[in-house]
């Protein structure tokens, strides 16, 4: 166990959504720690709250969400749930970045890939971009793609642009600069910062092994294939070098062979950038290949947390066991074991342990008290009374 404090710790998070049907109790007493440098896999079925939990870390909750209790501590910046939108803007993209399930929908169709990646840089690292832009002033080869007359205009204006850029380096919000941004030819000085951002975007695209990155940076999302779009998403997420990368079903919309490329890329980049990854998926195979620790979620609760090996070899929670048995492996048994029943409606979740109506091991106590996560073996936490009793670590909350 590392003695360092975890990068993110979610403590007793209870989160509801107000809807016309009533309160959807999306998360109930969720406790989860993300250690530095690990890949934590969160696995669970549709509606189990895995996406909500990850969005809460980013502060990306829908307006009808209601945090009932709990906190999310992000090591460097404090409790994310109490931050204002302005404070969150500084964290998002910079400290935490996210890759979404469908790259086609997450990218802006009206911007080129290079501009979208550069946008994050211009937002979070304007100073560095200004500095780099300043070096480009007067260098006509940097504007090589522009027509001759435009290059000449830029050359003629370079003294003005240079002074404006140095002014921006000192203070971007000066009144004189704000005025200059309204003057047609003068405001073109910002083209240099954009150029600098574009150059870094291309470099990032090269790192995610995009074929022909220079060309791809000038393309729109619809011109790229699914796998290339996902590479662009990854580049966008990593360009600010975040300490935490949240990957929400990064390969679900992709084909197997493309999935393989993306998973390999994520593994490689993790080593290269020394990132912490929160990987959310319903695919047990993907979890097993990539993550070092796994949390299993069911109906808004975390039911089991363990390192990948002991979770797959020695699952303790009956839901985890059911999930592992329901997935067929090549050359496996000829009858799949089903989990009877279906996922409960979270407006009216079952009392006590939320899994008890579908559980084969359910006892009387399971419907009366809510189990807490208890460490039954080193690094192996489980929230199930029968499993806890087996290890002599039964923990019943007084109600």
């Amino acid at each position: 166990m590392t003695s360092q404090e975890p990068l993110v710790s979610i403590r007793d998070l209870t989160l509801h959504f107000r809807t016309y049907e009533g309160r959807v109790k999306a998360l109930e007493n969720v406790n989860l720690k993300i250690e530095r440098g690990e890949t934590l896999g969160v696995v669970g079925e549709t509606g189990c709250g895995k996406t909500v939990a990850s969005r809460a870390i980013m502060g990306l909750l829908a307006p009808n969400a209601m945090v009932v209790s709990g906190r999310i501590d992000f090591s460097a910046v404090g409790n994310v749930l109490e931050m204002s939108q302005v404070q969150l803007c500084a964290v998002r993209g910079n400290q935490v970045a996210m890759i979404f399930q469908e790259p086609g929908r997450a990218l802006n169709p009206t911007m080129t890939i290079g501009d979208q990646i550069g946008e994050a840089l211009l937002l979070h690292f304007r100073e560095r971009m200004t500095e780099k832009g300043l070096q480009l002033v007067g260098d006509t080869s940097a504007l090589g793609h522009e027509p001759f007359w435009k290059r000449m205009i830029f050359k003629a204006l370079s003294p003005i642009h240079r002074s404006l850029l140095s002014a921006e380096k000192k203070n971007a919000n000066q009144i004189s600069l704000r005025l200059a941004r309204k003057v047609p030819l003068a405001r073109a000085y910002r083209a240099y910062t954009a150029l600098a951002a574009r150059a870094e975007a291309v470099e990032m695209l090269r790192k995610v092994r995009m074929p022909n990155p220079q060309h791809a940076a000038g393309q729109y999302p619809h011109e790229l294939s699914g796998g290339m779009k996902q590479r662009a998403m990854i580049a966008m997420a990593l360009v600010c070098n975040p300490s935490l990368l949240i990957a929400d079903e990064p390969t679900t919309a992709l084909d197997v062979t493309t999935q393989l490329q993306i998973l390999k890329l994520i593994n490689e980049l993790k080593r290269q950038f020394n990132m912490t990854i929160l990987l959310i998926t319903h695919n047990l195979g993907v979890i097993a290949e990539v993550s070092s620790r796994v949390a299993v979620m069911y109906a808004g609760t975390v039911v089991e947390v363990a390192d990948a090996r002991s979770l797959f070899k020695n699952p303790l929670h009956p839901y985890t066991v059911g999930l592992l048995n329901a997935a067929h492996e090549v050359g496996g048994a000829k009858e799949l074991q089903e989990i009877p029943g279906m996922v409960p409606n979270l407006v009216n979740p079952p009392s006590g342990c939320r899994f008890h109506p579908r559980c084969a091991l359910a006892e009387k106590i399971c419907s009366r008290a809510t189990p807490r996560l208890v460490e039954v073996r080193e690094g192996h936490l489980v929230g199930c009374f029968p499993a806890q009793r087996k290890f002599g670590k039964l923990d019943v909350m007084p109600s």
């Binding site: 022909n212 220079q214 062979t257 490329q261 695919n283 492996e329 090549v330 799949l336 089903e338």
Partner: protein, 418 residues
Amino acid sequence: MTQTLVEATNLKKYFPIKAGLLKIGGYVKAVDDVSFEIRRGETLGVVGESGCGKSTVARCLLRLIEPTDGEITYQFEGSGSVDFLKARKRELHELRRHMQIVFQDPFSSLNPRMLIKDIVAEPLRTFKAASGRGVLDNVRRLLSFVGLGEEHLYRYPHEMSGGQLQRVCVARAIALDPEFLILDEPTSALDVSVQAQILNLLKRLQKELGMTYLFITHNLKVVDFMADRIAVMYLGKIVEVAQRGEFFEKTMHPYSQALLSAIPAADPDAKRLEKAIELVGDVPEPINPPLGCPFHPRCPRVFDRCGLEGRDLHAYLDSNLDIETMKKLAISVRDTRISIAAKDPRSPEALQTVQTLIDNGRKLGQPMFSAIESVNEERRGEVTVIFRPPVQPPLQSAGYDHEVSCFLYHPLNTLSGH
């Protein structure tokens, strides 16, 4: 004993690309000359990545879309052999009683304004298989067959979960006791635990009702569970067909091998990812598919007979020469012909680099260069490379009930007639 139920021969479906009011700018070859048979009582699993044409094949088999060319023959019990594509409207209606389909997304394949009982009763009414009170009795029987109860009769689709809706779709499909059922990705929209329920249900129904399945999926784990025989499709073509056991033990086609190795295993010790065969690039556009074997540009075991062509050399130069050199070259490709010229005839260095690259490659016998028929310098400052005419690998037997379309498994002499 094994009888053929469906036989498709040289099935083709080309979708025209409109380039104007009356002009056609080319065709998307969604299904390109596919032949296969489905035997009575078996499950044929069709696997492939998105866009490989597997769903189009299913739709052609039901004539939900008209195939461009080819022949489909059905042999239903007691009705002899039927040429399905020549059937008239009346006949077609009668034939369709024997064939049904279950789609991928149960939410969009059920009418949201109809009650479950009416949805399941619809085929019974259309084919006058029951009337009056018999209809509802039949619906009850069908619903209990798929594990639903009395309480679901008077519900609308939005009141039910995905797994339950997929059960309704299955109940509707088996209402007329069909002989042939097409399952087009029936479980890909469902969660793992529900997926297990539906797969077990489908298996049970097949045993009890003696149906023949065509099971389409992109998930090799599911196909291993369901299918008796497996067909792998790539870019509108079937590249390998084999019995399940044989397929997983003796996978032949390099594409099938790559697909199999790419499945992540639910075992953290396996670390299959590291050993997996990673394919380069993306699936090419089916508008202008590669010549010869459609898989050759991405194949890790490509050799000179696979149909290497101008585009491949162009891509090779792109990745092996630096950008500056490439900028100095004018390259034009037409099928197996590629002309490379220096943009500026006064500085032929770039062209010389290309020539040494080709010469060295030919000396070393690299597959890209041993497929070259001739290199001509017709004009000064222009090199034309011509590749040998491409031959498509035929789908040929390569083992017991195992067909593969790859030259690695076909000795040269079978090629003589192409």
